[in-house]
């Protein structure tokens, strides 16, 4: 059992989003590949690519708003994580 890694090309065919777009997401620092040096992605990166594509393509959100939304989503997840830890302790 191993957590899977995907190349940009594999991610592109799995999400139906072209490679240039995925590279653009990485360059903007919206997606931080698990292995940046070899540009290999994991399932979390793929899920984030799909999310960004939904924001831009389906909900037609302006590119300028994407980092703001991602920041807020990350903050919600961080708070949820802390709450979960508090409940565990």
């Amino acid at each position: 059992m191993e957590s899977r890694r995907y190349s940009i090309e594999e991610a592109s065919s799995s999400c139906g989003i072209n490679c240039e777009m995925i590279i653009h997401f990485v360059e903007e620092d919206w997606v931080k590949p698990i292995n940046h040096q070899e540009m290999m992605l994991d399932d979390e990166d793929i899920a984030r690519i799909r999310l960004i594509n939904t924001l831009l393509d389906e909900l037609e959100i302006d590119e300028e708003a994407v980092p703001v939304i991602l920041h807020l989503i990350d903050e919600i997840h961080h708070l949820r994580f802390l709450l979960g830890m508090r409940d565990r302790n």
């Binding site: 059992m1 191993e2 957590s3 899977r4 799995s14 999400c15 931080k32 698990i34 994991d42 399932d43 979390e44 793929i46 899920a47 984030r48 799909r50 999310l51 939904t54 389906e58 909900l59 037609e60 959100i61 939304i69 989503i73 990350d74 903050e75 919600i76 997840h77 961080h78 708070l79 949820r80 994580f81 802390l82 709450l83 979960g84 830890m85 508090r86 565990r88 302790n89």
Partner: protein, 309 residues
């Protein structure tokens, strides 16, 4: 024709769901969808099941009438296939509870004072969340391929972790491709007194030559002779647990589907059905006697499927 019914999304009037009139312009339907999707998208409401349910309804409605082509079909009452969800799931599922991006945010932005205040912790005696919680171990995700029939009916499997530890896990019947099983406390070790993280095993359901999963239902193609298709009769249908007899009516065609209750994936009351899809077969080298008999029938009875009576 059999209608497939999925549990999650009931079919409602898509115009009512999107809050538009039946004669609304296509652009207004799109606008209404976008407005509702921005409000209810599960990634903008992580963990809120009510919002997720609402979003499924909205996106199902948009699937039905979001393009002129689909809308025309819906208005003529030709829509049959219900919405089956989106591929790949949602982003929040990859971060729940605590993924790489979540932890990275925590490292870059977490302000201990702010979170102490938020969670009402006393600052006396250094009980900041980092100190008091002693950093739990990281969650780890693995993938495991499961046989088609084991995934449908359930099984007990032994898994070996990278550190050599072996563990028996119970695969519940009806598990779907991509679903994750949580193994509490089997992830990375915690720091200091922090609890270990959890291990998540993502299930990859292997494909099967004869059966295909459709949620809890299982579809299989059943070849039937053209003579049986005309007259109807009993045919043998393969199921996950051997063959059963199915009665088909006279005048059955290729593509007709018949539902056999309780022979799908899952267990107990939550078990799905088997959908037997007929494929009418004509012998490749018909016997001369058969050819003669059919020639005779052709003269006696005419039937042109391209010109229905």
């Amino acid at each position: 024709m059999i209608k497939l019914v999925f549990e999650e999304v009931s079919i409602k009037d898509p115009y009512a769901v999107l809050g538009v009139s039946k004669d609304a312009a296509q652009e207004d339907i799109k606008k209404a969808y976008r407005k509702l999707a921005k409000k209810f998208h599960p990634d903008l409401n992580p963990g809120n099941q009510e919002a997720e349910k609402k979003f499924k309804e909205v996106s199902h409605a948009f699937d039905l009438i979001g393009t002129p082509e689909n809308r025309g079909k819906f208005d003529r009452g030709e829509t049959e296939e219900p919405h089956t969800g989106r591929p790949g799931g949602y982003y929040y599922q990859s971060q729940d509870p605590g993924g790489r991006y979540t932890h990275s945010f925590g490292e870059d932005f977490a302000d201990e004072d702010f979170f102490e205040q938020l969670f009402g912790r006393s600052r006396a005696g250094r009980t900041g969340y980092r100190a008091s919680m002693d950093m739990p171990g990281a969650d780890e995700t693995y993938q495991m391929e499961v046989d088609f029939i084991e995934a449908a009916l359930g099984a007990e499997k032994e898994v070996t972790f990278p550190n050599g530890k072996k563990l028996k896990i119970n695969i519940p019947g009806g598990i779907e491709n991509g679903q994750k099983l949580r193994l509490k406390g089997q992830g990375g070790p915690g720091q200091r007194a922090g609890p270990p993280g959890d291990a998540y095993v993502e299930i990859k359901v292997a494909s099967h030559g004869q059966f295909q999963r459709q949620g809890k239902d299982i579809e299989t193609e059943v070849p039937v002779s053209f003579l049986d298709a005309v007259t109807g009769g009993e045919i043998e249908v393969p199921t996950l647990e051997g063959r059963v007899l199915l009665k088909i009516p006279a005048g059955s065609s290729s593509g007709n589907k018949f539902r056999i209750k309780g022979k799908g994936a899952g267990t107990g009351e939550r078990r799905g059905d088997l959908l037997a899809k007929l494929k009418v077969i004509v012998p490749k080298n018909p016997d001369p006697g058969l050819l003669q008999a059919v020639e005779k029938l052709k003269q006696q009875y005419s039937f042109d499927p391209r010109r229905p009576a």
